[in-house]
């Protein structure tokens, strides 16, 4: 009688398979299943009632959902572009520094060390219409004599959230781009100088192509971050007032945890995941293109 012996590759992978199943696969399947049920946290028996694609249809027909979806894409687009430009500028400046660069790099990382919840509270206070720093400064300097409703007006609230996001995350771009700048070989730049290139020409045609892979990595990481933006917005405006700053995850979070409608929230979550997948694929394609331009494609 021969005992069944699993192949060695399977035995070696088994711990990883068990852990990944427990923490990723099973919850993922369970949440996918629950999105086809009217599951409410407060009524566990609802998990066993199959309602087909009702939740998906409801989400697809919901104007509030698509408004939040559109707003999230808008925030993503503006925040990523501005953070990238500012991070690039910051990295180029820090790269020029010859004394105390390490200290500067550490200081640059300070905003990343704050919990997003605290960043939310900090900017909620800064932009408070009555006792906030910005309004008080504007009034004291004589630039304004009214209380500007930063967190109430739709566009101003969007701007305030954008500022908070940028404050906390521009340094992600700066640090990654700086790492890219360190990796740029000196020879082509010196050769360009000898050939009479202007600083702009050597930046545009030599430095930038070298750091593009780093920029795309930063964009991919931050696109996932912003697409699931929740904490800062939740604290600053909670998606309001009147849904003016509602993003996907503030809507989904409220539906799932406050209204306890987890089935519907999961359905919205699965639709939203396509957004994240789309941006990730897009940036990874760009990354590969940038790498092959440098002859690094594998």
């Amino acid at each position: 009688m021969s005992r069944f012996r699993p192949p060695p590759w399977f035995v070696l992978l088994l711990p990883a398979i068990i852990i990944l199943s427990a923490v990723v696969l099973i919850p993922l399947l369970l949440s996918l299943y629950s999105s086809f049920t009217p599951y409410r946290l407060t009524r566990p028996e609802t998990l066993y009632k199959w309602i087909g694609t009702y939740n998906y249809e409801k989400a697809i027909e919901s104007a509030h959902f698509w408004a939040a979806f559109g707003r999230t894409i808008l925030l993503l687009t503006i925040a990523l572009n501005l953070e990238m430009l500012m991070g690039l500028g910051l990295a180029l400046l820090v790269n020029k520094v010859t004394y105390g660069q390490r200290t500067l790099r550490t200081v640059m990382m300070f905003p990343m060390m704050f919990s997003p919840i605290l960043v939310g509270f900090q900017f909620k206070f800064i932009f408070n219409d009555n006792v906030g720093l910005v309004n008080n400064a504007l009034q004291s300097l004589g630039l304004s004599n009214v209380a500007i409703p930063w967190l109430v007006d739709g566009q101003l609230a969007f701007f305030s959230i954008l500022v908070a996001e940028m404050w906390s995350s521009t340094s992600v771009f700066a640090i990654l781009i700086l790492a890219g700048l360190f990796a740029v070989p000196r020879d082509p730049i010196e050769a360009a100088k000898v050939d009479g290139c202007t600083p702009w020409q050597s930046f545009r045609h030599i430095t930038l192509p070298y750091i593009m892979p780093f920029i795309y990595i930063a964009l991919a990481i931050r696109s996932l971050d912003v697409a699931r933006a929740y904490d800062i917005v939740q604290i600053m405006t909670n998606g309001g007032p009147a849904r003016r700053t509602e993003l996907l995850w503030t809507l989904i979070g409220r539906t799932g945890y406050v209204d306890a409608k987890m089935g519907y929230a999961n359905a919205m979550g699965y639709i939203s995941i396509f957004l994240a997948i789309f941006f990730t694929i897009y940036f990874f394609r760009k990354l590969n293109a940038a790498r092959s331009e440098l002859g690094m494609a594998g």
Binding site: D129, Q139, A147, W150, L151, V152
Partner: protein, 435 residues
């Protein structure tokens, strides 16, 4: 023995046992498990559990002590898992309707005289249907009107108001007068007539009480929405008019209780409908710029002649599955009896028994501010009513408040906002199988 005879015997035993006084050794050997609200301010009362144990011979085993939000989750998982071996639980009038099957009706275990010693509106708010599911403790919340006395004492204000309206300037007694005065006092951005909670359950609670004060209802008897009515429109108009007139800080739609408390304490708000817990803070030299300048009055009435009075209170309940309901009811009565409420209200919270109200008011004699506060809140309490007793209250508020905000900020007309909110609540109720 017939069921009826057994019931009457049980009730007779219970009635002797309860009425707030425990008889010696009557529950020898009984152990009751309890899940109670935890927190510094609630602990003093729990010391009296030991006295009850000594008197009755029973033992109380507190198996959980958490805040209400955590207890709420625990009760729900107990219901889901069927782990209901415990007997006594802390309850709250805003949560009670979510677990209608969890707690037993306490009426058979108490004398009518004993129940009559509580403030009637508090007892009404402790019922689900006809079942008295909890006995209220001395932790009661209702809002009264706080105002800055200086704005009413100012001679220029008096003369200008008289010239404008033909009436003498005095703290308002109706919500229309309140609105008129708030607009009159405003000198933005340095001084505002009033402010209101602008989001979440808070604004819907305020809207709810105004709808009642205007003679309307938030829900019909079958829980279909009833606020898309003339009363609802008048109530929402109150919020919209104040915002449009600039008589509230522009950020008011993002304010919650803490923002309102801090706002009034900054001395830049003339009129503020707020909870009793702020009374000390508003008049504290260290905490408030309004200290010494605070007046308190019963909350105004709407055009229907009804005063607002959205309220909430803590209480204790006995589970339906408890195997010794008499002992549990005796404990609950003990924890909310006159002595217990005197003890608890001596630290500041408002009582829910008529005699204890008299006691706290008379013990505040000599302290003019405290007396004014207590008298105002005693009057406020007599107009109190609880949040709508549906398990879908919070979900409904999440559908209503963005629409109220949309009307306040001018994104929608009052009619459209209420119609959209009503439609959303109607759909939600139907989806939940309410009707």
């Amino acid at each position: 023995m017939g069921n009826q005879r057994l019931k009457s015997l049980l009730c007779a035993t219970a009635l002797v046992a309860v009425a707030g006084n425990a008889a010696a050794g009557e529950f020898d050997g009984v152990t009751l498990q309890a899940k109670l609200i935890g927190g510094q301010q609630y602990e003093a009362l729990y010391a009296r559990i030991g006295e009850w144990e000594e008197k009755t011979g029973a033992k109380v085993d507190v198996i959980s002590k958490k805040n209400h939000f955590e207890l709420d989750k625990e009760f729900k998982s107990d219901l889901a898992a069927g782990t209901l071996g415990w007997c006594v639980g802390s309850n709250h009038s805003s949560f009670a309707s979510q677990y209608p099957s969890l707690y037993t009706d306490l009426t058979p275990f108490l004398t009518a005289d004993f129940i009559a010693e509580y403030v009637p509106s508090n007892i009404a708010a402790s019922k689900i249907g006809d079942a008295l599911v909890m006995l209220p403790r001395a932790q009661f919340d209702v809002s009264a009107l706080y105002y800055l006395k200086s704005v009413y004492e100012d001679d220029d204000n008096k003369a200008a108001y008289k010239a404008k309206t033909g009436r003498d300037l005095a703290p308002p007694d109706t919500w229309d007068e309140y609105k008129e005065q708030a607009i009159f006092f405003t000198d933005a951005p340095n001084f505002y007539g009033t402010q209101y909670a602008g989001k979440d359950e808070a604004i819907v609670g305020r809207f709810y009480e105004l709808v009642i004060a205007e003679g309307g209802q938030l829900f019909n008897d079958d829980w279909s929405p009833a606020f898309n009515s003339d009363a609802g429109k008048r109530a929402l108009k109150w919020f919209v008019d104040l915002y449009e007139a600039g008589a509230v800080p522009p950020g008011t739609t993002s304010y919650l209780w803490d923002d309102l408390g801090q706002g009034f304490a900054s001395g830049t708000i003339a009129l503020n409908l707020d909870w009793p817990g702020w009374a000390g803070f508003f008049n504290g030299e260290d905490s408030s710029k309004a200290a010494g300048n605070v007046g308190v009055k019963v909350q105004p009435a709407g055009t229907a002649g009804v005063r607002t009075g959205w309220s909430g209170h803590h209480g204790f309940s006995v589970t339906e599955s408890c195997d010794n309901k008499e002992a549990a009811a005796s404990l609950v009565a003990w924890l909310t009896n006159e002595d217990s409420q005197k003890l608890e209200s001596s630290a500041g919270p408002l009582p829910t028994r008529t005699a204890v109200w008299g006691h706290v008011v008379s013990s505040a004699e000599g302290d003019a501010y405290r007396t004014e506060v207590l008298k105002a809140f005693q009057a406020a309490a007599s107009h109190a009513f609880p949040a709508p007793q549906t398990p879908y209250w919070i979900e409904a508020t999440n559908l209503i408040y963005p629409e109220l905000q949309a009307a306040i900020l001018g994104d929608k007309s009052i009619d459209d906002a209420l119609s959209d909110a009503s439609e959303a609540v109607d759909e939600m109720m139907q989806e939940n199988g309410v009707y």
